[in-house]
């Protein structure tokens, strides 16, 4: 059972909380037997053994062992508290990432209109891909950044220049790519070529500057 809007991981936690712990009957019997036979512990003796004599304990009361016994309901409440804390931390982390993502989105859109490959710390960079193919009816971009999936990144015709264009956010580094023009794979004539042609045709390379360069 899950709440209508709750994320999957929260459902997993809820299920884990609700799951009944099953123990083999033989194990249960042996455990109860062991517990019944065990000597009753004397907490005061234990304290003296572990932390020194009474005099020392009197001088340092903080050294006394404090035992906390939780009833079933208190234990459940403690578990719920831990889960809430964990969920809170996760939520805050995700919110923070979402804010960064949104900031990146806004920032890169603005930069795309000005300078396309200016390095910025810890941000992906907008790279504008262009191809002149006046007679093409469909142009896609494939590469190491979109798992070579021709359905992911389609170019559109720029009314001003007549070129096929698309802007993609890429992390700093070296990216290999190609265009798919009406089903035919072709390298970018305006970009450096990748030297590997393992599969019979050459790819292009785009380099996105890192903050260090």
């Amino acid at each position: 059972m899950s709440e209508p809007d709750s994320p999957r991981w929260l459902d997993e936690i809820t299920d884990e909380l609700r799951r009944e712990v099953s123990v083999r009957p033989a194990w249960r019997a042996r455990l109860l037997d062991d517990v019944a036979r065990a000597p009753k512990p004397s907490s005061r003796d234990d304290v003296d053994e572990r932390f020194g004599d009474e005099e020392e304990l009197a001088q340092h009361p903080a050294r006394r062992r404090r035992s906390i016994t939780l009833g079933p309901f208190t234990g459940l409440a403690a578990a719920a508290l831990f889960v809430t804390l964990g969920a809170g931390v996760t939520y805050m982390t995700m919110s923070s990432r979402a804010r960064v993502h949104e900031r990146e989105r806004r920032g890169t859109t603005a930069r795309a209109q000005a300078v396309s490959r200016t390095p910025t710390p810890a941000e992906r960079e907008v790279v504008r891909f262009e191809l002149s193919a006046p007679r093409a009816s469909r142009v896609a971009l494939v590469g190491s950044f979109n798992d070579w999936n021709p359905g992911t990144t389609l170019l559109s015709r720029d009314p001003a220049s007549g070129k096929w264009v698309v802007s993609v956010r890429l992390p700093p580094g070296r990216h290999v790519y190609a265009f798919v023009v009406d089903g035919d794979v072709t390298a970018d004539p305006d970009a450096p070529r990748a030297a590997d042609d393992d599969f019979g045709s050459t790819n292009s390379v785009v380099f996105v500057s890192s903050p260090r360069t």
């Binding site: 403690a78 964990g86 990432r97 798992d147 290999v176 030297a195 393992d198 599969f199 380099f207």
Partner: protein, 205 residues
Amino acid sequence: MIVRLLALVIAVASGLGAAQAQGVDRTLPAQLSAPTRATLERLIDSARVAGLPIDPLYSKVREGVFRSADEPRVVVAVQRLARDLGDARAALGDSAAAEEVTAGANALRAGLHRADLSRLRDARGNKSDHPLTVALVVIADLATRGVPPAMAAASVNELVTRNVSDGSLMSFRQSVERDLVGGRSPASALDARTRAMIEDERRRP
């Protein structure tokens, strides 16, 4: 139970982080047969153990599937790339970044020797915070366009020694390419553009 729950929460949180940091899909395409997948997994695992970048290997597999290459060819391509990555790592040193190693492997594929890569690393000298990725991409590109690899490596070495920026290296590449398209010989184009770039750098305050 509480420990298990906390572990679950931490696992969920860290899993989210890893998924966001990871750029390449590190799974093998389902179109591949089970024996091919097993072979590729072994190969990629070996590369991982050797400390080589593995994203280019996954990417190579996907490229092969995209280009409808037959499975043995995909395996050979991944094997070859893994070997080149290893050679590039050996030439560039253990401190080389993944991007540098990948670009180095590509440069080897374009006809450079390991010694060329090592010379480039030495040319950078103690400016170890400056990656050689662009320099390697430029050399590989020039070699792909018909410039003798040793000549391309020597010119770019010269520029790297003089601390030429990555942007200038890319301009250098474009200038040489324009000259080649215009009918100039590779040796002549390279020589003229290298001199011009060095002169520009000298004039710079």
